[in-house]
């Protein structure tokens, strides 16, 4: 009886490990693919063609999962390729740009989110005054973190802005057993235009 219960526990535990491990592995694979795609598309025109789809007329929509920016935060050793969208698949591949928000560097609030156990694991160490860099096909921008706050998961957290603002979000607490109840919100203001 004891051995049978032990086997059952091993089986259940193995299934959980397999599920979690395969999700992490798929994320790592998608992450490296996004980086490779970004590096391939260095030319500005090629980047634009790779991430846009024609929906008729003048409107263009960024394809979900396409690499749209690079996010670099030297103080916490973060260098990630940002993909479009914040769905499960996109957030497994990398930090996700919230559709409808501004592109980093453009006018308005650019929102980038990621999981606390993956790409934004070191985000908890980011402090007000730290420097953040973003690159898109159009421009590079330097940002200074100006605000750091924690809000409840369902509370209003994102607001539009006339000035360029970069908002980074992840779950809070960073180390938490289960589904984290809060969100860490970091806002940065743009310092200068680099072309």
């Amino acid at each position: 009886m004891r051995r049978r219960v032990g086997a059952l526990l091993c089986l259940a535990g193995g299934a959980l490990l397999l599920h979690a491990g395969s999700t992490y592995a798929r994320g790592a694979l998608a992450r490296s693919e996004a980086r490779a795609a970004w590096e391939r598309a260095e030319a500005r025109r090629a980047v634009r063609d790779a991430r846009l789809i024609d929906v008729g007329g003048d409107a263009e929509i960024v394809r979900l999962g396409a690499p749209v920016a690079r996010l670099i935060i030297p103080s916490i050793g973060l260098d990630e390729i940002v993909v479009e969208g914040v769905g499960d698949d996109e957030l497994n591949a990398g930090p996700g740009h919230l559709p409808g928000s501004a592109m980093p560097g453009g006018p308005g609030n650019a929102v980038i989110s990621a999981h606390r156990d993956r790409h934004f694991a070191p985000l908890g160490d980011l402090q007000v005054g730290d420097t953040v860099y973003t690159e898109t096909g159009a421009q590079r921008a330097t940002w200074i973190v100006s605000k750091r706050r924690v809000v409840g998961a369902g509370k209003p957290a994102l607001f539009s802005s006339d000035e360029p603002v970069l908002t980074l979000t992840t779950c809070w607490p960073i180390r938490y057993f289960g589904t984290a109840p809060d969100r860490l919100i970091l806002e940065a203001k743009r310092m200068r235009h680099e072309g």
Binding site: V5, L9, A12, L16, S101, V111, T170
Partner: protein, 134 residues
Amino acid sequence: MRIPTLSFILAAVLAAPSASAQFTGLVTPPPRPAPPVELVAQAGDVAADTTAAARMTDMKAWVDSAAVAVAAQAPADTATPPVVIETPAAAPAAQEEAPAFREGAPAPDTATPLPALLLLGAALVAGGAALRRR
């Protein structure tokens, strides 16, 4: 209660809330009530009438066209032309609304149970291995 049994129950209770988000259980829908006999009979009548009308119409069209064809060449086939019944196109499935930026929106849902599942899985494997080793 013996320790292995207790640990198994404890593990099952602990695992259930986390795993529930990852696995989908089979839920049998309640049996649909049978439609009234009058409605079934009416539906049968309507279907039969529609089919008959379609055949009559197409037969007339076929006879007219066949008469023209006979004048032009010898008849090769007297088969009834097929009746094409157009079915309405299926309605497109409703697409889930993707999260997008709006004023006062909450932060995107980055919550994930994966770390908890990983720890739980490791604990279960360790517990199971310990039980089997005894």
